[in-house]
């Protein structure tokens, strides 16, 4: 029965290739499937491979797997898109918990003959697994809004000390194993607590990064457990997740330009909470998310304003239009009569970028089409999309016809700051919850949107 090793090898390769494919949009789905296959085969082998002092207990195993599978499926089906990160976080927590439960059991199997290496590995698995477990739970709580942010100057020092404590304990326990039978349990508890105190101070905004970090930890825990059982798939799979998880974490930090240090030593969430603080409650978005939204939309309406002229973004706009159209999205331009600074300002620019006249929709028709527009891309327009013209009799522009873009499904506003437009009045649009702000010079922003769209396949 030497086939086992072969199968293990195969499943390892499946895992690797799966992970690889997962990292490119066009192949991601297959990647996930391959990885699943890899897991499946590995698990089957683990169940059926011949083994020294095997007592079967298949009943428990099947029951366990089945139960888990059912629960997992149910949740993953009924969660809605926005809830997914929470869910991932819990799942990851469970992975950690699994590592914990096996390693604690192993810890109590040690006898005088068990090697130093083995013990160290086991306890590390216990510790890391524990952190991943409770950490993930907190992360979940935060995302679900069940746990409030809380932090104090001291917390990071406390964490440091606590970490020392854990490691100290482990070393002690490894050096003189059999002395205190309760120590493993202590180590367990300490680890679990560290998980809590580690994640708690971190701002909700940064949870995705944290989850990815914890995921990497789970991976490492799995690898350690693998070493304990001398099981190749566990080792390699675990290591793979560990390393790729680490990189991914770094990438995520980059994407929301924070440094990982600045993450781990707290000081978290500062940046992102800032904005919501000083200017009402606006939602910022990334070029990337906007790109996806548009890429998978049916109808996109571009709403050019004076800002497009200032940024000279018309050509970039045309390019984006081209990329989207070529991917089956249909793109139009809603031209407000007073957009820009002179009559026909937008016409001049869009003609220059030669956008066909047929794509230029004027106010009334546009307001008609907006209801079944999926994404409104507001390019440096402000007054002409100011809803207070419609609903705020107090407003100086009340009664002026404007583009009623709030009738569309999503609104993304491209501008450089929260500055006002020509008429110098606030624009409630920006604070509406359909609206996402994408700050920066319109031209640059649109160019990066275009790149994002292009990489997407």
């Amino acid at each position: 029965m030497q086939y086992i090793e072969l199968i293990y090898i195969v499943s390892t390769v499946l895992l690797i290739i799966g992970l690889r494919k997962l990292s490119s949009p066009s192949t991601a789905r297959n990647g996930n499937v391959l990885a699943a296959l890899g897991m499946g085969s590995a698990i089957l082998v683990a169940i059926f491979s011949p083994m020294t002092d095997d007592h079967g207990n298949l009943l428990y195993i099947f029951a366990g797997i089945l139960a888990g599978a059912v629960i997992g499926l149910i949740y993953s089906k009924k969660v809605e898109m926005t809830g997914i990160p929470e869910l991932v976080s819990i799942f990851n927590g469970f992975g950690g918990a699994c590592a914990v439960s096996i390693s604690i059991l192993e810890a109590y199997k040690f006898n005088s003959s068990s090697t130093l290496g083995l013990m160290t590995t086991t306890y590390m698995a216990l510790f890391i697994g524990g952190v991943a477990f409770t950490g993930s739970l907190i992360a979940y709580g935060k995302l679900a809004g069940k746990v409030k942010d809380w932090r104090s100057k001291v917390s990071s020092y406390f964490n440091l000390i606590w970490l020392m404590a854990c490691i100290g304990l482990i070393i002690f326990q490894v050096i003189n194993p059999m002395t205190y039978t309760f120590l493993p349990l202590v180590i367990l508890t300490v680890s679990l607590i560290y998980g809590l105190t580690f994640v708690w101070p971190i701002g909700g905004a940064d949870m995705p990064v944290v989850i990815s970090l914890l995921n990497a930890l789970t991976g490492i825990a799995a690898a350690l457990a693998g070493i304990v059982y001398g099981n190749m798939v566990m080792i390699l799979g675990g290591v793979l997740v560990g390393s790729s998880g680490a990189i991914l974490t770094v990438l995520m930090c980059k994407a929301m330009n924070r440094s990982l240090i600045n993450v781990v030593v707290g000081g978290f969430g500062a940046s992102s909470s800032a904005i919501s603080a000083d200017q009402g409650d606006i939602k910022e978005t990334t070029a990337n998310d906007t790109a996806i939204m548009m890429r998978y939309a049916q109808n996109v309406m571009v709403i050019p304003g004076y800002g497009m002229a200032v940024a000279q973004a018309q050509k970039a706009c045309k390019e984006l239009d081209k990329s989207l159209s070529s991917r089956g999205v249909n793109v139009n331009y809603a031209i407000h009569p007073v957009a820009g600074r002179m009559p026909g300002h937008m016409n001049v620019l869009l003609a220059e970028a030669d956008v066909p006249y047929s794509k230029l929709i004027d106010l009334d028709d546009a307001n008609g089409m907006l209801t079944d527009t999926d994404v409104c891309l507001v390019v440096g327009a402000n007054d002409v999309v100011n809803p207070s013209a419609l609903d705020d009799p107090g407003s100086p522009i009340y009664g002026m016809p404007v583009l009623e873009i709030l009738n569309s499904k999503n609104v993304v506003v491209l501008k450089r700051s929260m500055n006002k437009g020509y008429s110098g009045i606030e624009n409630p649009l920006f604070f509406h919850d359909k609206t996402k702000m994408l700050f920066g010079d319109a031209k640059d922003t649109i160019e990066s949107l275009n790149n994002e769209v292009k990489v997407m396949d």
């Binding site: 004076y306 002229a309 200032v310 000279q312 009569p337 007073v338 820009g340 600074r341 002179m342 009559p343 026909g344 300002h345 001049v348 620019l349 003609a351 220059e352 007054d383 013209a389 100086p396 522009i397 009340y398 009664g399 002026m400 016809p401 020509y422 008429s423």
Partner: protein
């Protein structure tokens, strides 16, 4: 309610074009139009009738209508015939004192002059100045191009390479910006200049070069309008403009300071130094002209340089102009008649600013 349209004796501008007439009729207004009111701008009586309006004599219109629309001028005699509390809407150049203006102030009717509209976003749709200025800006370039004995765009041909024409636009208001855009379209190299440095951005947004004079006296409170400038500044300014103008083939000047004499930007020496065959279009000629030599509504030739003085270029596009004008008027009417003709909300900027009346009157309603 009856809306009357009287012929504009002075310009090819009719206050309602047939398309808009029918819109109003849909809104349950009666429309009576003075016979031949639209002919000058290319709209025959038949068209009005088929749009549902009634053709009548000037007298009738003036006496019957509750709201009287016209272009830019109206006779004292006409005013007499208007019934007491009817409204008169036009574009009477309300910033420049004139007998007509005093007559209008004394008129029993309430007179609105749309050129007095605030330059606010909400007023845009009624802003006749914008509509007409923009039209004139476009026309200025087309006329200049037609006048000019050369290509606007650069041409590399087997009979030699022809450099692009250089166009200088003075005053980048609505008219100026439109001129810039049009000249750019035709392929000329465009430079522009304005006292309001705020305009720089707008000029550049059209791909033209903004030539700067340091030390401009901004006055942003003036609602987008320009204010008069310091001596030294004006000297520097003149020098710069002189140099640029001498290089230019076409100069289009739109510089205005509402209600005041237009600033002189092109002096005789400049004209003298300019290339033979170059063209100057002075759109400020009516208010004294940006070019010393320009004569209002005349085209003169000063040793080889053609100087067109015309502040009402839109008149050459009467048809289009009237269409825009009447759309503006339509929007204006819809705004002021919100709650019926007899209770206008005088505290609305749009109404109070455009309404012409003697001081006591204003005192009353204040």
């Amino acid at each position: 309610m009856v809306i009357g349209v009287v012929k504009c004796t002075e310009e090819n501008l009719v206050a309602l074009v047939p398309q808009v007439t029918s819109k109003l009729i849909k809104d349950e207004y009666q429309i009576i139009v003075e016979s031949d009111a639209g002919v000058a701008s290319g709209y025959s009586n038949e068209l009005y009738e088929s749009a549902g309006a009634v053709i009548a004599s000037r007298k009738e219109v003036l006496s019957k209508a509750d709201i009287i629309l016209t272009g830019t001028a109206i006779e004292k005699t006409d005013l007499k015939q208007i019934t007491k509390n009817s409204l008169l809407v036009g574009k009477f150049n309300g910033r420049v004192e004139s007998n007509m203006l005093t007559d209008l102030r004394e008129a029993t009717a309430q007179v609105f002059s749309l050129d007095l509209l605030p330059r606010s976003t909400i007023a845009q749709s009624m802003d006749v100045l914008s509509s007409l200025a923009s039209l004139s800006g476009y026309k200025a370039v087309v006329t200049a191009a037609d006048e000019f004995a050369g290509y606007f765009p650069m041409m590399t041909t087997s009979a030699g390479t022809i450099p692009p024409a250089r166009v200088l636009v003075l005053g980048a208001g609505v008219a100026g910006l439109q001129a810039i855009a049009t000249a750019k379209r035709l392929g000329a190299i465009v430079e522009a200049f304005d006292v309001r440095t705020a305009v720089r951005e707008e000029v550049q947004s059209l791909g033209a070069k903004f030539i700067e004079v340091e030390g401009s006296q901004e006055d942003t409170t003036a609602g987008g309008y320009a204010v008069e400038q310091s001596e030294t500044y004006i000297k520097k300014q003149k020098e710069l403009i002189h140099e640029t103008a001498v290089k230019a083939d076409i100069v289009i000047s739109t510089a205005n300071i509402p209600g005041r004499k237009a600033p002189v930007l092109i002096e005789n020496r400049t004209v003298a130094a300019m290339k033979k065959g170059s063209v100057i279009v002075d759109m400020a000629s009516a208010s004294g002209g940006n070019c010393e030599l320009s004569k209002d509504s005349q085209t003169i030739d000063v040793d080889g340089v053609t100087i067109i003085g015309d502040s009402k270029l839109y008149n050459l596009m009467g048809k289009q102009a009237s269409l825009l004008y009447s759309n503006n008027i339509y929007n204006f009417l819809k705004y002021i008649l919100k709650d019926g003709k007899d209770n206008l909300s005088y505290d609305s900027e749009i109404i109070s600013k455009t309404l012409l009346r003697e001081e006591e009157k204003s005192a009353v309603s204040a």
